[in-house]
Symmetry: C2
Subunit: 335 residues, 2 copies
């Protein structure tokens, strides 16, 4: 069988390798053409797997002794050559795996992707791009950069737009993606000098259908297909929205279980709440592709649990299946 192969760095996230492996076993049951290579401490991983049921054919191991942890910086990619993150990236570089998924530290991962997987031609700064749910049915918004870069110049932001535009057209099948610039006001004169210059570049790019500035309030409103921003603001916008979503759902839950009467009525609405939670709970959108590198590379939140890892593995799987990198390259040639 021709498997889709993911190199899964299971070591470096906050919660240890167990939720990562639980997530892997879940998706392996569903996707019979998927093989996962567990990269990490083989002995520990195998001990954990001892009593689990799974198809042996779909699992492989790559043993390594080091782990890049959350405190490590970009230089540790060169220092910890036998770390699970570096090894997972090398498996992809050497075409042993088709894509990589990690919950490990962000900065070393980006550095590793750039050094080991290399960048797409013409792209200087890759960007993290999560897929954001919106209140419109079947409409998602691509948001980038959300933190691969701390500071971005106007030219970087234009490149983010070009990449996401290609991704939206080719992968999301949007005919003319609307691209907006995240800004604190709608007028073209709003924001810092970087925003004003980025606005001009985007407006004058004839390959983009530029919507103008979009206020952070409307990221989840589905007005546009792509929202571009510098990495710092993008990260703040994403995490702020995620936190509000989570806390609001908690508040509603508390309010609906205040007394027995409410509990009964709420029970009748369980399915409705599950629908909303599935759409907006950020655990289901915990992964982001690193757009702009030569291979498929996904990062899951450092604090990922099994639900989050499952979501990110699913995204990695479908990115491979859709041949995202090849299609991105073609699309970038056109624009």
């Amino acid at each position: 069988m021709q498997y889709i192969k993911i190199a899964f760095d299971v070591m470096g996230s906050d919660n240890g390798f167990k939720p990562a492996i639980e997530a892997a076993l879940k998706i392996l049951k569903e996707k019979k053409d998927l093989k996962i290579i567990f990269v990490g401490k083989e002995f520990e991983i195998k001990s954990f797997l001892k009593n689990k049921k799974y198809n042996l054919e779909q699992v492989d191991f790559f043993n390594c002794e080091e782990t890049i942890d959350m405190k490590d910086g970009i230089m540790d990619i060169r220092r910890k050559r036998d770390s699970s993150m570096v090894r997972a990236l090398e498996l992809v570089r050497d075409d042993i795996a088709d894509g990589v998924t990690t919950g490990g530290a962000t900065a070393p991962f980006i550095a590793g992707c750039i050094f080991i997987l290399k960048r797409l031609e013409g792209i200087e700064r890759p960007a993290f791009m999560p897929v954001i749910p919106t209140i419109l049915k079947n409409k998602v918004t691509l948001l980038l950069d959300v933190g691969a870069n701390l500071e971005s110049d106007p030219e970087d932001i234009e490149k983010f737009a070009i990449m996401a535009n290609a991704y939206s057209r080719v992968i999301k099948q949007v005919k003319n993606p609307k691209v907006a610039l995240l800004n604190i006001g709608e007028e073209s004169t709003k924001g810092t000098e970087i925003h004003k210059k980025a606005y001009e570049l985007l407006k004058n790019n004839k390959y983009l259908d530029f919507y103008g500035n979009l206020e952070p309030r409307y990221i989840t409103s589905g007005f546009v297909d792509v929202v571009v921003t510098d990495g710092y603001s993008g990260n703040v916008a994403l995490k702020s929205a995620e936190g509000m979503g989570k806390n609001l759902l908690t508040e509603i839950k508390n309010s609906l279980t205040k007394n027995i009467f409410r509990k009964i009525a709420a029970f009748c609405l369980k399915k409705a709440f599950i629908e909303v939670r599935e759409k907006f709970d950020y655990k289901n959108h915990a992964g982001a592709i690193l757009l702009g590198v030569n291979k498929i590379a996904f990062k899951s939140h450092g604090s990922s649990d099994a639900i989050s890892f499952y979501a990110t593995l699913s995204m990695t799987y479908s990115a491979i299946k859709n041949r995202i990198v090849e299609k991105m390259k073609e699309a970038l040639k056109i624009t």
Copy 2:
């Protein structure tokens, strides 16, 4: 009767003066010691008031012919001397009113506050500070700056902390306010150079109980009493959370009214939803004080409706009643 007097610039917001006046009439019914001076086109305002019921004693007018609109910049404060915004500020400067409320353009309002009302001693950059609801009962978080400044240097951010710390102690009666720096990661090494320097300043300020960095995800979690940030990031964080809150509530509403069965169950839970909405709907938190000026000055969203204006007028009223500026001055002397 000794009235609390608000100079209310009713002209410059997106939705015209009508929602502003509706909100004023509502609060006047509730607060019998409040007088509102409607600043704007007297003839138009009076025509609108013709068939309304209100206590004549509680209303006053200041006629002026010009309006500062959303496109106007800071120089228009000097150009449009007879605008409702300038006149409202002058009424406060001259102690004819005790505080000002506007829904007008942000940049001219800040400039007007600085030029006409003057800054507090030692404060170079005033900051907008909304009061953020949290999932903890009776706990709010003060967030600043949310957009009075585009860029803030580390010293500005430290001043924001000192001001909000004083406000929290004196007005919110918090004994030892916990103060955090908004950042994209918890570690002290995260963020831009500005964040790293601000972190050091805050950590070394012996008058502050510094919590460390707080990720945007936890703004509404109630971990701290004060969150400080540069104006751009603060604005992005606030608006992003507001948008998520609004869209999530919309999504829930749509899901709960999908069929008649759900509608009935949801009807039984109406009170629970109203509780949550009242706490988290940003219309009820639409106002922000401009902290750091010599008088009480509140700004409501440019797109305020009657609910938002009512909330902002309530905040202005209670700020005056609590003698916020005097208490801030005392508190700033101590730290």
